[in-house]
Symmetry: C2
Subunit: 335 residues, 2 copies
């Protein structure tokens, strides 16, 4: 491995018979180099297999081109879809994504942000958890941009991208009632994140306005298995719900499977179900789930665009609110 190290601008310069600055300029967009030197440099670089060292460049420019994505549950359909969109759009913007997985162990978001600082990331995008205030301040103070996706936080400085979770909850409640449902339920996990709780509160509030009290149950981690358990709990009640809004599609899939296969309930005839996220499986014909689509592509583009802006007026509050689109499928009667 020691053998031959990476090719440096120096070597390229020598082979091309120019100064090292000429080489540097050749690879700096918008620098002044004569067509002739440029050609010779590129030739030499190609021959030698030279590639600009972004570590060194970042050191000088004080801008690494790195953006940290801080994520947990990467293997989850919604998260991986967002991740896909973010990496793609970052790359198109000439940046590169550093992925930090915060699964297991607590306080790991803080650790992740420390890592981001060490690599002098230009920015960090937080998809999971919430960092400590002090470390957030540290990032901002060092000129690192911060984007929070679907995490509620009152600190000024970071860009906050959120959905209209509360309103969505309301829309689905009215949809249920319009479909003739009378006993509404909300199935949630115990995660208690602002997005999940927003959906819950919006749903309950809208139902209340229609004079209906909602059965609420919360259990475990926000996944398929929890959905099954929630179904077992809710469908064995004496007053069985005829409509359930699950806080996420994964919960909804689990709920629906349990309802059908363990209770022999027919969806949507006996039970209407809705979810949130519009993960790929929601469109699979076994589920055909009515759900809210998170505008992943818009989320990503808002984030990337903001990160690419030259200046961000300090102290201002940056916050974007996007609306989730209701996707009508067959899990609610009479759609």
């Amino acid at each position: 491995m020691s053998s031959k190290l990476f090719v440096s601008a120096q070597e390229v310069a020598e082979r091309a018979g120019v100064s090292r600055s000429a080489v540097s300029r050749t690879f700096t967009p918008g620098a002044s180099v004569s067509a002739d030197t440029r050609r010779r440099v590129l030739e030499a670089a190609e021959a030698l297999g030279y590639h600009v060292n972004h570590l060194a460049r970042g050191l000088m420019r004080n801008e690494s081109g790195i953006v940290c994505l801080i994520v947990s549950d990467v293997a989850t359909p919604y998260r991986s879809a967002l991740l896909r969109e973010l990496t793609l759009q970052l790359q198109n913007a000439g940046k590169v994504a550093m992925l930090i997985n915060t699964d297991r162990s607590d306080g790991s978001v803080d650790r992740a942000l420390r890592q981001a600082i060490r690599y002098r990331a230009d920015a960090s995008v937080i998809l999971s958890g919430l960092p400590d205030k002090s470390i957030t301040q540290l990032c901002l103070r060092n000129g690192q941009r911060l984007v929070l996706i679907n995490r509620d936080d009152d600190q000024p400085g970071p860009l906050k991208i959120n959905l209209d979770d509360y309103e969505s909850g309301g829309r689905i409640a009215t949809a249920f009632v319009r479909a003739g449902c009378r006993t509404l339920a909300f199935a949630n996990s115990e995660a208690g994140t602002p997005s999940l709780m927003g959906r819950e509160r919006g749903f309950i509030a809208a139902a209340a306005r229609l004079g209906i009290e909602v059965i609420v149950e919360r259990y475990g981690w926000t996944g398929y298995e929890a959905g099954k358990v929630l179904a077992q709990r809710m469908l064995t009640r004496t007053e069985r719900p005829d409509a359930v809004f699950c806080a996420t599609d994964l919960l909804a899939c689990g709920f629906m499977d349990a309802a059908r296969h363990q209770f022999g309930i027919s969806v949507p005839d006996q039970l209407c179900i809705a979810g949130f996220d519009d993960i790929e499986q929601a469109s699979w014909s076994s589920y055909d789930l009515t759900t809210f689509a998170q505008p992943v592509s818009m989320i990503a583009s808002h984030a990337v665009e903001w990160l690419s802006k030259a200046e961000n007026a300090d102290g201002e509050d940056h916050s974007v609110r996007l609306t989730a689109e209701l996707i009508w499928r067959g899990s609610i009667r009479g759609g």
Copy 2:
């Protein structure tokens, strides 16, 4: 953003009343610093919010700590599961993952590797596509390690991790026959990757040994929708198969959904189905799919362990062959 830049070792040194080398040593595991200086340095660092600049460190040490993960179809269940495992294990090994998405546009694996070189990544792990020979050589020549997962390649140098796809195909063929199936089919995509083709060939060969000719169909991209189309094609044949091995679980889910919902076929009574990957959905009760589990965790640990080794004997051929575990579920009769 210009305001106050990042804190440097210099500033920490001044505040602690020591030399900058002392600071450096404090943050270098296994360097000799007195307990007293160490304490003073750490105090100053904490107060100032100092974090070692890994860009600069990488420059000096000629070792960035960065490992590039080159992936397409990140949002796919199997890929995201592998990604999750890789990032987690890399982090445990003190490395950090740089994610490069090679969706859309061809030759993008080469571009990704160039990016890896620019950031002086210590290694690249390739999960999708196959790089050009010349660029592979460039990486290796520069001391960058390379890991190829499930891609067949004869170039010496990279670590190659593969599964026993061919044998798995054989195992499932015998399982089908043992379950009483007589008309076997193989549903594949048009991707034509070595893994997919290996499963196909192994399945066909084993069936041939049992005196059975396999119906083979290939269509589209390796996903759910292709599975549906394949089902439409195969289940409208005059001689309808009573067992189908799908090259991946996504294909299998699509196939099964089409079989049940469009053709009213009962699985496994009228049709046995098997898949490959053991994605999470395979265990969902709507599918309950018999499949082969990719040992993602072992794949990741092999990769990370090899990357962490100090020396790799040059020129030797490094290749690991893992076996996929057959997970028996309800989509094959009499399991």
